[in-house]
């Protein structure tokens, strides 16, 4: 069944169109930056953007930061929200179930398929952004985070101790880059940390996917479940910035979404990353369990 779901995913035009569009945004941004040489000052704008002119190899991280707030969650919510509800609307759900495909098995196959889609989207963004960064913005010279031009230190050397300076995630974004100014990363380290960021973002998106998948088992409307999960994310974003909601903030799905930026600190600032992984794992487990409980006892009338 997993194979069947993957064939359906990969042969569906929507999959590729959404991936291409997600990759297009960082490309457009890179073109503008290349033409104008204007980047946000450190500490402002989207994460890493202020540093990409000095180092094109950082562009994958900048690109991920660009697509994370809206593009990725929307794409994931659409695909995951469609997974059961879409089959119900199309009428294919009942035919799958009488083949028979067990309801639990179908749910697992859908989850695998959504995971593959998330990985596909994130990796596509990373690789196209790397190519964009290298070709448009110039190749990496010393691959140092937030490094001033011409201050290239030998690759692999760990800069002066900055461990204590790791700022809170609240500053996020560009702030990370300036605070680490001068601490160089070797290409290998950069690759490792980008991989860590990809893993973190993938898990964050799986949290979104689990919510959408759950809603997808409740309604027969793919649109409803996609928008419902996006509404949950927007609500979470609102509460994250609301001081009055401090009590619940650690449990909000988007609270640690940007924690992957801490992978690019020297050394890695693990606290928020760990919390982020933890809270997303919790969301995945809770919503998948709810999806399973609902779907396995549901009358299929569509």
């Amino acid at each position: 069944m997993i194979k069947v779901e993957l064939v359906k995913l990969l042969r569906r035009p929507r999959t590729w169109i959404s991936v291409v569009l997600t990759c297009a945004l960082p490309l457009i941004v890179a073109v503008f930056i290349t033409v104008t040489h204007l980047v946000p000052p450190p500490g402002q704008g989207s994460a890493f953007l202020s540093a990409v002119l000095q180092d094109g190899a950082l562009y994958p991280a900048a690109a991920l930061a660009l697509v994370l707030p809206v593009f990725l969650p929307v794409a994931v919510a659409v695909v995951a929200g469609d997974s059961i509800a879409g089959e119900a609307t199309e009428g294919t759900l009942r035919y799958l179930l009488v083949r028979p495909v067990g309801r639990t098995r179908l749910l697992v196959a859908k989850l695998v398929s959504v995971t593959v889609y998330v990985l596909l989207a994130v990796l596509a963004v990373t690789f196209t952004a790397y190519a964009t960064g290298v070709f448009l913005l110039g190749p990496s010279e010393a691959a140092a985070v937030g490094q001033a031009p011409g201050a290239g230190l030998p690759g692999g050397a760990v800069g002066p101790g900055l461990a204590g300076q790791a700022p809170t995630a609240g500053q996020a974004a560009g702030g990370a880059v300036t605070s680490l100014s001068g601490a160089p990363l070797s290409l290998l380290q950069l690759t490792e940390r980008t991989a860590g960021a990809i893993a973190f973002i993938t898990v964050s998106m799986l949290g979104v996917a689990a919510i959408a998948l759950f809603l997808s088992t409740i309604t027969d409307s793919a649109l409803g479940s996609a928008l419902g999960s996006l509404a949950a994310l927007v609500a979470s974003e609102v509460l994250v910035t609301l001081n009055a909601a401090t009590v619940v903030q650690p449990y909000l799905p988007t609270r640690y979404w940007l924690a992957w930026i801490d992978f690019f600190r020297q050394p890695v600032f693990w606290r928020d990353i760990q919390r982020g992984f933890g809270i997303q794992a919790l969301y995945v487990v809770v919503f998948l369990a709810a999806a399973w409980a609902n779907f396995s006892t549901k009358d299929i009338t569509a």
Partner: protein
């Protein structure tokens, strides 16, 4: 093949299916009749484990459903309301995916391909299997749905409104296909609101009315002669006079006579010098039977007691 006992499905205060005792025997061509909204689809979905019964028992192919769905369903081909397929994929790819989705992962690819070919052939889609389904007409989609039901050479076909969307030619093809499969040993259970479809194909009928099974019998028994003769004659007055007391109904030149043997009556009338245009034993049509048990429109059933 299919047995239900006191099967009930309620949605809140609404009873969709109320205490149905279905009995479909091996080799039957069973037609479940009923107007739209009578509970046919809910009943079919319960048989297939898609909808869970509120109470009652279901036994399909000798096993309890939905508990043994995993063993029972692979032997069943099903068409449930409209056919459905992934529109951007070809008919053939759709069948391949549906086939691969079910159990039997070890089946050789060649066997699966042959099965798909045969199913496409059976429903007359062999030439268009490579076209995307979104380019199919409604009739072609219905045939594709039927092909999907046939891939695994089922012992039992459960078809909900299989004639929907088919043109007269398509309906005839369907009838021949189902009759052929039935002769090869496949039990056919179909639901329909089209009397003619059921009358021409089925050997056994059930009638569902507002969630209740109001009739279930062999068609031959239901349509057994009524002991009355329908007679068409230009000499209606003389005939009525001759058979005084036995004429139950008269409508112009047509008479309904209580008489057991049409041939004997014919001889008697001709012997008396009366002309007979047509004569034959009265048989109730399925329509009359259904209308008489569902209780609606009984005033249309002229001449039946």
């Amino acid at each position: 093949m299919i047995i239900t006992r006191a099967l009930v499905k309620r949605y809140g205060p609404v009873t969709a299916v109320g205490s149905v005792d279905l009995d479909v025997r091996e080799g039957d061509r069973y037609g479940l009749l009923g107007p739209n909204g009578s509970g046919k689809t809910t009943l079919v979905r319960m048989l297939l484990g898609l909808v869970y019964a509120t109470s009652g028992e279901i036994e399909v192919l000798g096993r309890r459903m939905p508990r043994h769905a995993r063993e029972v369903l692979p032997q069943i081909g099903a068409l449930i309301e409209e056919p459905a397929a992934y529109p951007h994929l070809s008919g053939r790819t759709n069948l391949t995916l549906f086939d691969a989705a079910g159990p039997g992962g070890g089946t050789a690819r060649r066997t699966r391909r042959r099965r798909v070919d045969e199913a496409l052939e059976q429903v007359g889609l062999a030439g268009v299997g490579r076209r995307p389904v979104k380019a199919y007409s409604l009739g072609m989609r219905q045939r594709l749905g039927l092909a999907a039901a046939l891939i695994r050479r089922p012992r039992l076909l459960i078809l909900d409104e299989p004639g929907n969307g088919l043109d007269p030619r398509g309906i005839r093809d369907l009838r021949e296909l189902l009759a052929g499969l039935n002769e090869a040993g496949v039990t056919v259970f179909l639901s329909s609101h089209l009397l003619a479809e059921v009358e021409q194909l089925c050997t056994r009928v059930g009638v569902l009315d507002e969630g209740r099974l109001v009739l279930q019998d062999d068609l031959a028994a239901l349509r057994a002669p009524t002991g009355r003769i329908v007679l068409d004659t230009p000499d209606a007055d003389q005939v009525a006079a001759l058979l005084d007391g036995q004429v139950e109904h008269r409508d112009g030149q047509q008479l309904l006579v209580r008489y057991s043997d049409a041939a004997a009556l014919n001889t008697r009338l001709v012997g008396a010098g009366l002309r007979v245009s047509s004569i034959g034993a009265q048989q109730r049509t399925l329509e009359e039977i259904v209308l008489s048990v569902t209780g609606t429109g009984s005033d249309h059933i002229a001449g039946t007691p």
